[in-house]
Amino acid sequence: MKKLSHKFIIALLAIYVLGGCKNLFEEPNIQRNPNAVTDVDVATLLSGTLLGVAMLHEDTDVRIASIWAGELNGLSRAHQGFAQYIVSSQAFVWNTLYPVGSQARLIQIKADALGDKWIKGVGQVLEALVIAKATDLYGDVPYRQVFDPETYPTPVFDRQTDVYAALQTTLDNAIVNLSAPSGLAFAAQDFMYKGDVVKWKAAANTLKARLYLHTGDYAKAVSSAVLGIGSTANDLLVPHGTSQGIDINQNYDFFRVSRPGDTGFNGAYLPKLMQSRINQANTKTDETALYNHYFKTGITATGSLDPNTADGAFTANAPHPVLTYYENQLIMAEAQARLGVSDSALTALNAVRAGLSAGYINGKTMPVVGRRYELYSVADFGPGGLANGTSLPTVQTALLYEIISQRYIVFLMQYEAFTDYRRLAKALPVVQLPIPLYVGTKKPQRFIYPQGEVNTNPNVPKPLPDQFTNVPLF
């Protein structure tokens, strides 16, 4: 029995020892996540957010928009479907769009905590860029109740006009903040403007001008554009490198690496438009250099008109435009033209032509050969004028036609081209490019609300508008 009780004690002791489990969880790798931090400073958050904004300007949305604007054509697989306007709610997602917007909002919250105005102002510009993209492509979208999951787990969808008004307010606040006399330095983290708040302020004004142009507030568009980006040196561009999956231009990645040949320019309207400005009556203009900068034949197949990924606009390290001087001047030109101020419109248009004539486009320089953009005079747009090839009846309409052509050409691979495509059907006087549909008779008007929204937010408009339904503004 003595032996037995020893064994008993040993057995019970073993159970007891293993029973002391409470402090088993007091391990660093349990008390916190060893794989991530739980907070970062506002400047580090700013550069991360900038990258998100960059991605939103080079993503699939932008390529679909380019295809639907007739600039690019879809030739294979999914993009061949996009070019036939075959999309559904699952072709679109907001899982980068709005979360990037929420990072921009978080920048503002963090800046407020520090009492900093400058970074807050940049955060507001970034927020406006994101929401502007959302409303341009989807129409009515959530804005008032966004980024506050505790209070608004399922935000309502605001009317597009309200979103535009709110965006102007956001940008006005941004400009006020960016005008503060001092603020936190963020040159090291700002990989677009190196912490230059003057440039950010100008970019905010250009964005305001763009939004006023969309809403037809041409006078306000002009006054904002006056304060907008004042030279090509101040373009808001995404820098790119040569490392795949890290920093290569996403269009290069798409056109050359990940989906070569799935899209191209065969059958697209843009090369036709540009061809019409080579060796034509318009002797002041020769688009050959820009044409060769944009396109190159035979990269993905014999004879195919491909994006120039070899030595042109879409190389791996080509910068990608977000907001540019050319856009600013073309907003000014169109707004002035619509206001009937032809000379100011022409000045702005000629400013762009001067830049092109110097070979500058989106941070790159095109070759001299076939590059001719002589300054226009008002007479060039009169009946029979060299820049009035389509024999439009008035200088205003001929000038508008040239301005929207120039916009169409400059906006390659920017979703603003698709906004123009829809907007110009309504903006008065109506002047449009004869962009043909790829198939059918119905013009694409919008993106479809993502299936993820349909699944989770009961406030998504019902019935779900299809891709041929107009957004309220355009």
Binding site: A11, C21, A36, L51, N455, T456
Partner: protein, 1097 residues
């Protein structure tokens, strides 16, 4: 040992009546077919009496038999009972055969203890290790296929060493690990099957780590299907528990048993999608070299002979040339024109691209086992070597070496010590697959029939005379221009890209059993499972996906430590009541670490796999660590009454480090199981029809732990990828982007608690006509509440996902197992076994969301929708009116849908297996059929091939009938025109299905209708047919000094009956994930013929 003791005990109980009219003495020796020497402990009874004895350690017996005794009955646990007439003999020798059905008379429970099946209430399927090893599968998991009711096994692909998905009674979870828990000799082990690195894009068929275990080492496997059986494993048991028991040594009285088994297998692809061979490369009926499509010219109309090359550097269309290793050269070929659709293409030769890179694979598998023991100590040593060359011609192999030592010693009458240790070294290469331009199926099946993929590399000379060696020549880059690959040539791919995995693993347990008094035992068991997995992925320069090359190395380490200590006390209160109580404690710790490094833009393209072969700016690195700890107290009470009623109650109180900081620190998981042997009722006992009857009722709760670190919202380096994978994305790791961070879009949740699955089952086990026929039926219903869901939230909240205990799931089902000894005795025997099961899953709620798409789903959108089965396809179909008819456009074609609807259900209606064993003396034939019925499968491969014009049903030439036909774009094809396509009527008269349709609404490349590619994937298969012969005659033994030689010939997966048009649907592109039934150029499944010989000394 245990068997011997048991029989001894039984006979002692009968011993009182032994003195009775003895008139003669019979002696003899009992041996067994699979063992050498005498068989100890066999009960020998005079038929119709209680007179008997047991054999001694040499298998000898001596028994006094009365005059009336006519026959002797020899019986032993695990062996078939033999009845031998005495006649005039005084020496009666018999040889016993092991009884496979008897094997299942005991079951191994969740804690690794043995119990009698007939007293057990929960449903457990037991599989004999021999039957798994015999299947010809190199992996344990796929060896289970079709063998147990309620268990579905789907392999991830046909690659050697491919992992598999295993599902028991439907899916119970969404976020956590949906695979069952594996226990080896009492130790929970890892069955990780994860994709990391580039392979996360489903580029490589991943393995399942449980397959590191050598099937030959397995004595038996128990599949604990019900919650009550598994409840002692708490939050790891919700998907069922599979208990593996490895082979142990036996008491051989010091003799050493040596067994050597060698197997060789030949494997081939068992099914491929059909390809057209009538139309050449090009588009619109015109030949075009390098073009992506096969909508070109009609090959039969070409002139024949060799192609006309553009060799003159001054000629239009000259593009230089490629020089192949055999000296031949290829130049550009002029494209077709309306006048001459063939251009310079003259050859009528076509190629079967389903064979480009495939071969007859083979493997050899050698196993050596040495075992033995005496009455105190037993041991088993085994070593195995598996060497497989896969069905792909290069970089496709699986090499596994395993070693095992299992020893046990009964040191004293109260102390037993045992150790079971297994070591595995595994190396495997697999080739890219799936939705990936370097995938062999994608690039191979899209190749035009008139393009020869066997020329895959060479030297390109461009028109300027520049020479580029190491060209990648593919159908879209036929001259091998540098950095212009587009789609890889599968032959180039298998010779240049490689992905390897190298695993070292040790699994071991130490166990101490203390029996201080006969009624009390204490078991202490500690085990480890540690492995490292060293992975390499390499894309050579000029590969399609990484033009400048890519190399990544990933190191994965997992360590698991587990300890159980439990004490069992038993007591018999009276003849009618008895019981036992078990109390124990469990501690478990799992840690995991991964380290990833990758480079692009290789400086020296031909360098070995070194991470220094790139600029620093092209290097990325990452790591991940996790630690999960769990401790639990548990108890089990067993009560039996009247030898009829058996009640088991268990409870486990568990704490885990993954529970949220603001929720309870521990959770309790109870179970109850009642078995009633109603055949022991006096009214039924002794009946001739019903030999045994048992009613089972069980109820239990099990759970699933949250994944680690879900309670925190974190910040991480900003990385942005394209949602659809159309680009490779941007990363803040670039010096250009200043290393920015952003907040994770997954919201943490401090309130996470374990999921809780409650299951009830009712079952009946019946045996008839002296156990010749058996039937077991189980009906179950389970409900999982608090299912942790990566709940999608409206993205405008700033988050995409919030982890929460959000969903509720239900499963109901029925499982039937039946067996019949149609011809039970004599030289010729015939046994049938069958299983049948069905499961109906239902998503009860999703915390307000109307649908949740599983993260590993393809475009058919395997989703959860309240009120619908798990993983139902929720995607697009053509636009329909209220009556469900397609709304046709003006040309008579349906139009692309813009919203989602339910388009298919991947869950089978039922599945079943039918096995038959015929044996004649040493010869036996086993046949196993199984069927999975009523499951939908998304054949994305077909949907994608359509866009390229290569699918088998696209090669027809149609002549337009009178009146002409319109195509989808409204173009009228005049009467009498021949075109590549079909005529179809969607309801508004015949229309032309041609290139315009297949590249528009008729492909899975866009969202017009994914439903058109959902097919019924019901399949019946001859899963296994084995012919075996055993040589063990006394003459043979004397002559060879061997105890036996067994030969067997197995055919695996030889015949498939299915209407599914793609590959064998027993694959899944996303591997062992939750989304089932999806194919997108998945590497195909295989069939095999296997020959093995086992020599036992």
């Amino acid at each position: 040992m245990a068997k011997t003791l048991l029989v001894n005990f039984l006979l002692l109980a009968l011993g009182g009546s032994r003195l009775w009219a003895q008139t003669r003495t019979i002696t003899g020796t009992v041996t067994a077919y699979e063992e050498t020497g005498g068989f100890a402990g066999v009960a020998v009874l005079v038929k119709g009496t209680t007179i008997g004895t047991v054999t001694d350690v040499n298998g000898k017996y001596s028994l006094s038999v009365p005059e009336s005794g006519k026959a002797l009955v020899f019986s032993a646990v695990g062996m078939e009972t033999v009845e031998e007439p005495i006649g005039g003999r005084t020496t009666v020798d018999v040889r016993l055969k092991s009884d496979t059905r008897q094997l299942t008379e005991i079951v191994i429970t969740a804690l690794g203890t043995k119990t009698e099946r007939d007293r057990f209430a929960s449903s457990i399927s037991t599989l004999d290790g021999k039957n798994i090893a015999r299947t010809g599968e190199t992996s344990l998991l796929t060896g289970l296929s079709g063998k147990a009711s309620g268990v579905l096994v789907t392999r991830n692909g046909g690659d050697p060493g491919a992992g598999a998905y295993i599902q028991i009674r439907g899916q119970n979870t969404i976020n956590g690990n949906a695979q069952p828990l594996f226990i080896v000799d009492g130790m929970p082990v890892s069955n990780a099957s994860d994709n990391i690195g580039t392979a996360a894009g489903n580029g490589i068929v991943q393995q399942s780590r449980i397959n590191d275990i050598n099937p030959e080492d397995i004595e038996r496997m128990e599949v604990l299907k019900g919650a009550s059986a598994a409840a002692l494993w708490g939050t790891r048991a919700a998907n069922g528990v599979i208990v593996i028991t490895t082979k142990k040594g036996r008491n051989t009285d010091g003799k050493v048993n040596i067994s050597f088994k060698s197997a060789v297998s030949f494997d081939r692809v068992n099914k491929m999608p059909p390809l057209q061979r009538s139309y050449g490369q090009g588009s619109g009926g015109l030949y075009n070299q390098g073009q992506r499509n096969s909508f070109g010219d009609r090959i039969a109309d070409r002139t024949g002979g060799s192609d006309t090359f553009i060799t003159n550097p001054t000629a239009p269309g000259y593009q230089g040339f490629v020089t192949f290793p055999d000296g031949t050269q290829r130049y550009a070929i002029a494209p077709g024109t309306a006048a001459n659709p063939h251009g310079g293409k003259n050859s009528r030769e076509t190629f079967n691209h389903t064979r480009d890179v495939f071969q007859t694979g083979h493997f050899t598998d050698n196993n050596l086992s040495i075992s033995g023991g005496n009455d105190r100590t037993t041991f088993l040593l085994s070593y195995s070597n598996l060497n497989q060359e896969g069905i792909v011609k290069a970089f496709s192999n699986y090499r596994r070496n395993t070693a095992r030592i299992n020893v046990a010693s009964q040191f004293t009458d109260w102390l037993r010590v045992s150790a079971n240790v297994g070591y595995t070294n595994m190396f495997s290469s697999r080739i890219q697959q799936g939705d990936n331009v370097d995938g062999i199926m994608l690039s191979g099946l899209r190749t035009p029939p008139d393009y020869d993929n066997s020329y895959y590399t060479g030297t390109y000379t461009n028109p300027a005379g520049q020479v580029f060696p190491n060209a990648h020549v593919s159908y879209r880059n036929p001259l091998g221009r540098d950095l212009s690959t587009i789609y890889s040539n599968p032959t180039w791919n298998i010779n240049n890209n490689r992905n390897t995995t190298d695993v070292d693993r040790i699994i071991g347990t130490l166990e101490l059993d203390i029996t201080p008094t006969p009624w009390l035992s204490v078991t202490g068991r500690t085990g480890i499972d540690n492995y490292t997995d060293n992975r390499l992925e390499r894309f050579a320069r000029n590969s399609a996906r990484y033009l400048t090359g890519y190399l990544s190395k990933n190191w994965i380490t997992e360590k698991q430590f587990n300890t159980d200590v439990f004490a069992t006390a038993s007591k018999t209160f009276s003849n009618d009541f008895g019981g036992s109580l078990l109390v124990g404690v469990n501690y478990n710790s799992r840690s995991r670490a991964t380290l990833q490094n990758a480079i692009t833009n290789l400086i020296v393209p031909t360098a070995p796999d070194i991470l220094t072969n790139a600029l620093n700016s092209n290097l990325t690195a990452g790591n991940y660590n996790s630690l999960i700890r769990t401790y639990a107290y548990y108890a089990q009470a067993d009560v039996q009454a009247y030898n009829q009623l058996f009640l088991t109650l268990t409870g486990r109180n568990e704490s885990a480090s993954t529970f949220g900081a603001r929720t309870n620190s521990s959770f309790f998981f109870p179970s109850a199981a009642l078995a009633w042997q109603f055949s022991k009722l006096p009214v039924l006992e002794g009946g001739s029809l019903l030999s045994f009857g048992k009613l089972r009722l069980t109820w239990g709760q099990v759970g699933i732990q949250p994944q680690p670190y879900q309670n925190f919202t974190t910040f991480g380096p900003a990385n942005y990828s394209d949602f659809f994978g159309f680009t490779s994305g941007l990363s803040a790791a670039s010096a250009l982007y200043s290393g920015g961070y952003v907040r994770s879009t997954t919201a943490g949740n401090d309130f996470l608690r374990p999921e809780r699955k409650t299951e009830a089952e009712v079952g009946v086990d019946l045996r008839f006509l002296n156990n010749r026929f058996s039937l077991s039926a189980t009906a179950y219903t389970n409900n999982t509440k608090d299912v942790i869901l990566s709940l999608n939230v409206p993205n405008e909240t700033g988050f995409t996902i919030r982890n929460s205990n959000a969903a509720e799931l239900d499963n109901k089902g029925l499982e039937l197992d039946a067996g019949a000894d149609l011809i039970p005795t004599g030289a010729f025997r015939w046994n049938l076994s069958a299983n049948f099961s069905l499961n109906r899953s239902n998503v009860v709620s999703l915390a307000g969301a109307s649908a949740y798409t599983l993260p590993d789903s393809y475009m058919q959108n395997s989703s959860l929708i309240p009120g619908q089965p798990f993983g139902i396809f929720y995607s697009t179909d053509f636009q329909k009116d209220e009556t469900g008819r397609y709304i046709l456009d003006a040309n008579g074609f349906p139009q692309g849908g813009t919203g989602n609807e339910i388009i298919g259900n991947p869950n089978p209606n039922w599945r079943g297996g039918l096995g038959s064993t015929f044996s004649y003396k040493g010869l036996s034939l086993y046949v196993l059929f199984d069927r999975v019925s009523g499951n939908d499968f998304f054949n994305g491969t077909r949907g994608s091939m359509y866009a390229f014009g290569v699918h088998g049903d696209q090669g027809n030439t149609v002549v337009t009938p009178a009146g002409g036909l319109k195509d989808v774009n409204g173009n009228l094809i005049p009467a009498g025109t021949a075109f590549q396509g079909q005529i179809k009527d969607f309801g508004a008269g015949p229309v032309a299905i041609n290139q315009a349709w297949w590249q528009g609404r008729g492909t899975a490349s866009n969202s017009a209708s994914y439903k058109q590619f959902v097919e019924d994937a019901s399949v019946s298969r001859l899963r296994e047919i084995t012919l075996s012969y055993s040589l063990r005659s006394p003459g043979f033994r004397r002559f060879t000094h061997l105890s036996s030689v067994d030969f067997s010939l197995t055919g695996r997966n030889l015949v498939l009956w299915t209407n599914y048009t793609g590959t064998d649907p027993e694959v899944n592109i996303s591997g062992a994930g939750l989304s089932r039934g999806q194919d997108w150029f998945t590497n195909p499944n295989t069939k095999s013929v296997l020959f093995s010989v086992r020599i036992a000394y």
